[in-house]
């Protein structure tokens, strides 16, 4: 099997007690303790005021992590968001919006708001991203349930292997309100964006090699971080991010499907 690989140009991250990638890097490398706190989602500055007001949690989350990765790549060839293909991957999309639609449909009137309806598509965040940045490149929006981070990583690396010079991967999940929360207890919002570039472009950047594996998935030593990893699909990236934060070469196995894990070899 040919190996899929990529270099990481930049990161964006937002999660409980993790305000951005530099905060997350400090926690993941052990420099700072992880303080449990609700994820704070900033209003998406790139959207016009009307859309900004209506943007749900998942859209805020995706736009925030993507914007951080783009800003962190400033000055590099990959930093022009207009020219970047994107891979959005999320287990559930906008849970608040979904709840409102289902509640309305269960009422007598059944009058859904048109905005709620077009925001209900899984690719809503990708649509807003492309509009905000004027990006006309291809974009996909994936869902693989709990395996959504791994599915997004596979898709992004396969795009690079098929000729893309850079791909922005955004993996993110937000919590549902009740009563869906009881059936899908994602505790809080977590998202990670990786600006990935073709491995031949940037020898000085950390490089990943990816393969399917039967080995057991790595867990996090820190109980708070392990609880995030186990309960939020996008946080299944944490063992990889920890290795990257510590600049430690070697292989880390990530949870993916019930039938397969992903072995990621990190060359730092």
């Amino acid at each position: 099997m040919s190996t899929l690989s990529a270099c990481i140009q930049s990161y964006g991250l937002l999660g409980p007690g993790l305000a951005d990638w530099s905060a997350a890097r400090a926690v993941l490398s052990g420099e700072l303790p992880h303080a449990a706190a609700r994820t704070v989602l900033p209003p998406p500055a790139v959207l016009p005021p009307a859309e900004r007001r209506r943007a749900g949690r998942v859209i805020k989350l995706a736009l925030a992590i993507g914007a951080e990765a783009i800003a962190a790549a400033a000055g590099t060839a990959a930093a022009d968001a207009r020219l970047l293909p994107t891979v959005f991957s999320s287990s559930g999309g906008d849970g608040d919006n979904c709840h409102e639609i289902c509640a309305t449909l269960a009422s007598r009137e059944r009058l859904i708001s048109p905005t709620r309806f077009h925001n209900s598509v899984h690719n809503a965040a990708a649509g807003y991203w492309s509009i905000a940045y004027g990006c006309t490149e291809g974009s996909t929006s994936l869902c693989a349930g709990d395996a959504s981070f791994g599915a997004g990583l596979l898709e992004a690396l396969s795009q690079l292997a098929c000729g893309a010079r850079a791909v922005l991967l955004l993996a993110y999940d937000a919590d549902y309100p009740q009563p869906l929360y009881a059936k899908r207890p994602i505790p809080d919002a977590f998202g990670v964006a990786l600006l990935l570039v073709a491995p031949d472009t940037a020898a000085q950047l950390p490089r990943l090699e990816l393969a399917l594996s039967n080995a057991p998935a790595a867990s996090m030593v820190h109980p708070g971080l392990e609880s995030l990893r186990a309960s939020i699909p996008a946080a299944r990236s944490l063992p990889l991010l920890e290795r990257l934060a510590r600049r430690r070469a070697g292989t880390v196995v990530l949870d993916y499907l019930d039938t397969a894990r992903l072995a990621v070899e990190v060359h730092s």
Binding site: M1, S2, L4, P85, S91, G92, G93, C98, I101, C102, A103, L105, A106, R110, L111, I112, P114, F117, H118, N119, S120, V121, H122, N123, A124, A126, G127, Y128, S130, I131, G134, C135, T136, E137, G138, S139, T140, S141, L142, C143, A144, G145, A147, S148, A151, L154, E155, S158, A161, C162, Q178, P179, L180, A182, K183, R184, L212, L257, T259, A260
Partner: protein, 397 residues
């Protein structure tokens, strides 16, 4: 791209179960749309409902996946011996080397919509038996198909609204091209639900009549449902001349509006141009275009502009949504199979329900079935959020 072969394919829609029923309906220019009597929906619109979905039973070990969408998936997989073809591929390549790439927009949300009517009056809780991962989640249909065939390869749902099951061909092709897998079940499954019926109604995009793509007085779409699948594999060096090949895929984003296409069809045009470039073909090589053609004023106008700008006004085109309705997340795959049938039979299906041509739409829109030797056909799919995909299919010879 290196061409891939659709070694088996099948489609189930309101036109019927399987390829021969679909082909017969297209040859007879039959419309599958009926006035909406779905569930408790009270809307004056036509729908493309698949008959008999409620009677489908999933295998007992996979009962937790029971919902309309997975019943429709199961029904579709059992047509044309598609399930046997998958099992043979798994035997040949091994369970790790067969991927599942399916498009859906609403998955099993009908189950959630109904569950919300049965919430506990005090606590507001959903009924005990509601299974989120088995029914509601977009991955549910992919998970179901993977478990039905005991697969262990990469699996994902592509959810880019109405281009979902066109994009799966591109995604699976990349996984085969990079040798991660040897074969993929690609396709789309989307089923009727209240969210889309009331949602498109709220946007004033549903017609009260069977939809009339490219008509001067077109006034909206008719929602349909479908399960359409293909088994995608590397084409042998000496492919059977009759073999149906995926030759190219083109993707783009409109970057314009969440629910309206770019008025000049800029994104549509670049998706088609990318598909041609990917296949190494010129516009003159395309014999027929299966249009996205939803029947909404804005889609058909933007798509016509895009086609005319790229191809001129001579390439024969039609939308088959007047026959099938708009199967949303399954439309790309359904129309891919219609393109395969077109290539096999030399059949360019005429678009139904057109009474008066729109003088603004300059493309060569077919209103009656036309016969001709077809070598290359293009299929367009455009989704909310401006997610576009064009696929190029061809015969080996």
């Amino acid at each position: 791209m290196t061409p891939l072969q659709l070694t088996h394919f099948t489609a189930t829609s309101c036109l019927g179960r399987g390829v021969s029923a679909t082909r017969a309906a297209l040859e007879q220019a039959r419309c599958g749309l009926t006035p909406c009597r779905f569930e408790t929906v009270e809307l004056a619109t036509y729908i493309g409902e698949v008959a008999g979905v409620d009677a489908v039973r999933l295998p007992a070990p996979l009962e937790r996946f029971d919902c309309r969408n997975n019943r429709l998936a199961h029904l579709g997989l059992m047509q044309d011996d598609f399930d046997s073809a998958v099992r043979a591929a798994v035997e040949r390549f091994g369970p790790r080397r067969v991927g599942v790439y399916l498009g859906t927009s609403t998955s099993g949300i009908l189950t959630t919509e109904i569950a919300y009517r049965h919430r506990d009056p005090v606590s507001g809780a959903l009924p005990e038996g509601f299974d989120y991962a088995g029914t509601h989640n977009s991955f549910s249909v992919v998970d179901y198909v993977g478990r039905l065939f005991d697969l262990a390869g990469p699996a994902v749902a592509v959810c880019t609204a109405c281009s979902s099951s066109a994009k799966v061909f591109a995604a699976a092709q990349r996984m085969i091209a990079t040798n991660q897998i040897d074969a993929a079940i690609v396709g789309g499954v989307d089923s009727l639900c209240l969210t889309t019926l009331y949602g498109f109604h709220s946007l004033q995009l549903t017609s009260a009549e069977p939809c009339r793509p490219f008509d001067a007085a077109r006034d909206g779409l008719s929602i349909g449902e479908a399960a359409a699948f293909a088994l995608l594999e590397r084409a042998p060096a000496e492919a059977d001349p009759e073999a149906i090949l995926l030759l190219g895929a083109g993707e783009s984003s409109d970057a314009y509006h969440m629910s309206s296409p770019h008025p000049e069809g800029a994104g549509a045009r670049s998706a088609m141009r990318n598909a041609l470039a990917d296949a190494g073909l010129a516009t003159g090589d395309v014999d027929y275009i299966n249009l996205h053609g939803t029947g909404t004023p804005s889609n058909d106008s933007a798509e016509s502009r895009a086609v005319v700008a790229l191809f001129g006004s001579t390439t024969p085109c039609s939308s088959t949504k007047g026959a099938t309705g708009h199967a949303l997340g399954a439309a790309g795959a359904l129309e891919a199979i219609i393109c395969a049938i077109a290539l096999e039979r030399g059949l360019m299906p005429g678009g139904l329900h057109l009474r008066q041509r729109d003088p603004q739409l300059q493309l060569n829109y077919l209103t009656h079935n036309q016969r001709g030797a077809l070598r290359h056909v293009l299929s367009n799919s455009f989704g909310f959020g401006g997610a576009n995909c064009a696929l190029l299919f061809g015969r080996a010879a």
